[in-house]
Amino acid sequence: MSTEQTVIGKSVEGRFGPYGGRYVPETLVYPHEELAAAYEKARNDAAFQHEFDQLLRDYAGRPTRLYFARRLTEKLGGARVYLKREDLLHTGAHKINNCLGQILLAKRLGKKRIIAETGAGQHGVATATVAALFGFECVVYMGAEDVERQSLNVARMRLLGAEVCSVSGGTRTLKDAINEAMRDWVTNCADTYYLLGSVLGAHPYPTMVRDFHACIGREARRQFMEAENGGLPLALFACVGGGSNAIGLFHEFLNDKEVALIGAEAGGRGTGLGEHAARFRGGSQGVLQGTFSYILQDEHGQICPTHSVSAGLDYPSIGPEHAFLHDLGRAEYVAVSDQEALEACQLLARTEGIISALESSHAVAEACRRVPGMPRDRAVIVNLSGRGDKDMGILQRELQL
């Protein structure tokens, strides 16, 4: 592991500075190595890239639009706001990008049983979708608490033919779903592909998942320059659970030093441990679920419960590349509270007629906080990573609709 060689945006042996790596039981090393080799081969294979691009275009609906939010901009009275409309993709969130890439790898590896974890259910739905598309068996692990609060997505997965396993151990959320998926994989790795849904886990997942989402930033950068006479945005905003939509947007802009990269973490309902999922506010370095990063833990290294109104951000660790970008000062991470996210969701709905997922609403909220202080002749991009249909139950309750 030669961390000295690490440069921004490139991982050496799965390392981003000191972060990342491969902390897994020995049984899972070979499946990870096998996957890393298959991915390395695929990324240099024109036929693979062609098939992937074709699916992204014809099946998922890429490129997604970069939409100028005129009324929101007027309301905020500062920099112009553009929305990257990942919410318009098939299945309703950016997650499908990664799922299409990985299902192609599963096919190449000859593994026809697909397992996945899910928090909000978006990744579970996207996985169930691609498994159906390829005719593979699909098992999705989901925390019992998330099964309750995202019941619509549970039904979608079942309709798509997936088996949804409710995980009642631990904190009954995304973290525990990942534990259970890892236990399944360690048992069935010979014929099972683990389709991990974020830039988390052991190498090669953080690198591979990022690459499958990098189309978000590539499109956004080109679309923005077309719309803004070759200029670059002042800032990018994205929510960060594991951090896949954020890294997908940020990556293409890493070398554009003048573009601020801003990640919104779940500030939850308070600053005490257990009340939020803001890893850079209350977390410290540690190893969880295969990777070295920032995690929310107690003084003895036990992982802390987290809270967020959005299931997709309710996770105690963060992708290792974000940890590195944070330490370098290249990206900035801020905590957005449940309340602020709910208000931003409502504001966006009423100014633009767009109902954003509660995850993405965190990014919208941070943009709303900053944009009024930014010059009117500049512009920003907010990654609208998913749509809010799945959150209607929570919105109905929280906003008394």
């Binding site: 790596g21 902390y23 039981p25 049984t27 151990g169 360690v186 003895h300």
Partner: protein, 278 residues
């Protein structure tokens, strides 16, 4: 051997494990290595259980450090970990327990856990304190040789054995690296999967142990799914040690519902029965 000073303990862990396996080999039996979760049902009970295990014929104790996210463990050991954590059992408590076990038994002691609590404690401090407590070795389930460079140096510097896992999925090139990184013994996992009891010893286990032997002269213990005397006798034909975890943890849990005395007695009886047919 009475309590050892800081300096003379430098190589004692590796040596003590070596001596235990040697004496087992001379007695023509495999080392019996029970696993318990520290603090389940309580720290006091764990100490008494360790003492009962020694009396029942155990050679080495694997002492599990409870962790909130034990991805390599099946439901029985997950729940044991949760029970211990609910009582607030932490790594410093486990080290204190190891100290007491060392004072009152001659068991080999291998601390068994996940990496994060050890990282949080501090690698140098952990190695020092674990050696001081009288532990002989450490096995970290989610730490593979490639990520363990500093860990290995620090633990060896403190005289502790670094036990790594070998798995059915490990190709020969990895088995070689695992053998070179290990000291004390090598823990071979009998099958893919999490910890848990099984009807029989998996058919591939014998061959896997044979593959590991190509690369090492270290003793080889086999674990995962070994739960009765017949299993232990079978394992003794080709391995140097048999690890019994889930079945024992389950027996302790069942008995603990009747009180801690009952848990201690059940643990002793369970391990004595593993030796019964010899």
């Amino acid at each position: 051997m009475s309590s050892v000073s800081g300096t003379s303990s430098k190589s004692s862990g590796v040596e003590r494990l070596g001596a235990i396996f040697r004496s087992c080999r001379e007695a023509k039996r495999c080392a019996l290595i029970p696993f318990i979760t520290a603090g389940d049902p309580s720290l006091e009970a764990s100490l008494r259980i360790a003492q009962a295990l020694e009396k029942a014929g155990a050679d080495i104790l694997e002492l599990g450090i409870p962790f909130s996210d034990p991805v390599a463990d099946g439901p029985v050991i997950q729940r044991a970990s949760e029970r211990a954590l609910r009582q607030g059992v932490s790594l410093p408590d486990v080290l204190r327990l190891a100290t007491e076990i060392r004072k009152t038994t001659r068991l080999g002691i291998v601390l068994f856990g996940y990496y994060n609590p050890i990282l949080r404690y501090g690698l140098e401090k952990f190695a020092h304190d674990a050696a001081e407590a009288g532990a002989d070795g450490v096995l970290v389930t989610d730490l593979i040789p490639e990520e363990a460079g500093e860990y290995r140096n620090v633990l060896r510097g403190a005289g502790l054995a670094t036990v790594f896992l070998a798995a059915p999925t490990s190709p020969d090139v990895r088995l070689k690296a695992i053998a070179e990184s290990s000291s004390g013994f090598i823990y071979t996992v009998s099958r893919t999967g999490v910890t848990g009891s099984r009807e029989r010893v998996p058919v591939g286990a014998r061959e896997l142990v044979g593959r590991v032997r190509q690369f090492t002269k270290l003793p080889i213990a086999l674990g995962f799914g070994i739960s009765n005397a017949a299993h232990v006798n079978e394992v003794a034909e080709f391995a140097d040690g048999a690890v019994v975890g889930t079945a024992l943890v389950n027996a302790i849990d069942q008995a603990a519902r009747e009180g801690e005395d009952s848990a201690v007695r059940a643990a002793g009886e369970f391990v004595a029965a593993l030796r019964a047919e010899e």
